[in-house]
């Protein structure tokens, strides 16, 4: 089975990104494919490289980066939602004349089309949000 995952809330404030992470881990452990994880609405905030969560709590962004690396996951942050919320990669920062970029390793910024394409290509689409 090929799963497409949507994460539509940000880290810590909602459990969504944690539930999605646990689901993705379980799916991969069972030998399923996770074709893409698409971060929308406040979910784009999962991909900031500037978070410094307390050490005695799970490190949400770092977990996703590590999982993404281990399994070659396509972690996509929606550009429109990211622009609204101040998540920029180097390209975007240059394009928009901003003096910093803050996308974490393993995430890439792309268009909403990637969400639709994911829906078309996956066998099952699951949304974790609020």
């Amino acid at each position: 089975m090929k799963f497409g995952i949507v994460v539509s809330e940000g880290p810590y404030t909602h459990q969504a990104s944690d539930s999605a992470y646990s689901f993705v881990k379980a799916a991969l452990a069972k030998g399923h494919e996770v074709s893409r994880v698409f971060f929308y609405h406040d979910g784009v905030n999962v991909g900031t490289r500037l978070s410094v969560p307390p050490q005695d709590d799970r490190q949400i962004q770092a977990q996703w980066t590590a999982l993404g690396k281990e399994h070659g996951l396509d972690l996509v942050i929606c550009i429109a939602a990211a622009q609204r919320r101040g998540l920029l990669d180097q390209n975007e920062a240059d394009r928009q004349g901003k003096d910093a970029n803050n996308i974490a390793e393993g995430f890439r910024i792309s268009g909403l089309g990637q969400l639709i394409e994911m829906g078309i290509q996956a066998d099952r689409t699951i949304t974790f949000g609020d």
Binding site: V6, S8, Y40, H41, A80, A81, G111, L112, G113, L115, I116, E117, G119, I120, T125, T127, G129
Partner: protein
């Protein structure tokens, strides 16, 4: 853009403006239109409030995105299912909603309503008929 045509349903259950979900859901619908899928929108629970007429956001300082619903026909998004019971519970009728039309190119470009009012039971059938359900 794609050989595969799937039935996509965008489920809207939240009121506009208090949160961004209604507006950002519409942005997905517009971008998604380019993929030539079989698209429907569902409005139930507080989602029916998204379609009301006369939204004036000036004093609130928010972007009025309601005109975008009227443009959906141009994007070939022509099936907006609105739940009757959700309207009734909120004291709304079809008259309270925007007049959203599309031009049916298979029928001499006749203007037809995009809003399809359905019962809760019919809405359940619409949902059960989909390939991909996106909720916001």
């Amino acid at each position: 853009m794609s050989e595969v045509v799937k039935k996509f349903l965008y489920v809207n259950r939240k009121a506009p403006y208090g949160t961004i979900y209604a507006q950002e859901a519409l942005e997905v619908v517009l971008i998604g239109a380019a993929f030539d899928q079989d698209v429907s929108l569902a409005f139930l629970d507080d989602g029916v409030f998204q379609l009301t007429k006369g939204q004036d956001t000036r004093a609130a300082g928010l972007k009025n995105f309601s005109p975008t619903f009227r443009a959906l026909g141009d994007y070939e998004v022509t099936k907006l299912y609105v739940e009757q019971e959700s309207l009734d519970e909120r004291g709304l009728t079809l008259d309270d909603l925007q007049d959203i039309q599309y031009e049916d190119e298979d029928d001499d470009y006749e203007e037809k309503p995009s809003i399809i009012v359905v019962s809760r039971a019919e809405m359940a059938n619409v949902m059960a008929d989909q390939d991909v359900v996106l909720s916001f």
